[in-house]
Symmetry: C2
Subunit: 184 residues, 2 copies
């Protein structure tokens, strides 16, 4: 069984090493991890970004499931590139898992970045746009997609010191994927 | 032909009015716009967020295409909930269109929000994470998904004064959708 390993991990300085560790954890549970940076891309080519897209899409089409890293990325919410991939896999009917190393509620987290006020019973930002306030960790589309197309989002009890390198929540996803995908 | 109207428009104070305008533009081009807020949801129910998800997913499954509003939302990139929906529709093999009312290149836009530096030939943020720098308007997954599963992202020549209410780029998407979906 093959698992597509989505996440902003590819933007880390040690992106290749994190991928190697994730693939190794998958292997311990009898699963094959597919990591985007294992695609061979000529990053100097004029169409490098399109090569990356096509490589990632081919990996997703090959995979039986996705484990997405939804840890907040440069702001209050998950990395949109990773979220696109989670949506794509849900649309393809693949088994969807994800984790976030920040267990805070989304509405509280937004308040760390910008001013949030209460207006006629709803939370709003400075532009007057509603701040989603359902007590969920991120946007309801991702949270309920996971519940209904795979397993609920995994979060640690407390944010780890190193949110980009702590793989405990990732490993919990791999364990659930193995239990669901290898048993069937 | 039915078009799912995705975007953070649903978070605007006049979310219903924007939806009405978008549906009216679709109708002018012979298309049926499906707007998330037209789902009947009991927002006071304990499972309101799940009802919203299920309503949105049913609308997407019913639609032939999506027009996603990828205008940057509380940060440098598109709204993750909208991006999830774009990915889902791509995965379902639906026709994908989108617009962003901010035509700036992603790497430049990130620099408006946080410090970006150059390190060994790559742009990085304060945490050392790479800032994607392919000259694209947002993350490559969305940009190339649109090219390959529908129409390229539509952006205005200049950011309109009111990014949340200017519907010229949206109307350009509707025109392209009509040309592609009604002709076939």
């Amino acid at each position: 069984m093959k698992i597509y390993l989505a996440g902003p991990d590819v933007f880390l300085p040690d992106a290749h090493e994190i991928g190697r560790q994730k693939v190794a954890i998958c292997a311990r549970f009898g699963l094959t991890g597919l990591y985007p940076l294992d695609n061979k891309i000529d990053v100097t080519a004029a169409d490098a970004s399109r090569q990356i897209f096509c490589g990632n899409e081919a990996m997703m089409d090959e995979a039986d499931a996705i484990i997405a890293n939804l840890t907040p990325f440069r702001g209050a919410g998950a990395d949109p590139g990773t979220v696109y991939e989670l949506g794509y896999m849900a649309g393809r009917g693949k088994f969807c898992l994800a984790y976030s190393n920040d267990p805070a509620v989304y509405a509280d987290r937004v308040g760390r970045f910008i001013d949030v006020t209460s207006e006629n019973g709803r939370l709003v930002d400075a532009q007057g746009l509603t701040v989603e306030d359902f007590g969920l960790v991120d946007n309801l589309m991702m949270i309920h997609a996971l519940e209904l197309h795979g397993c609920p989002l995994v979060t640690p009890a407390q944010m780890p010191v190193d949110v980009w390198h702590d793989l405990a929540a990732f490993e919990a996803c791999v364990r659930m994927a193995a239990a669901r995908l290898i048993a069937t």
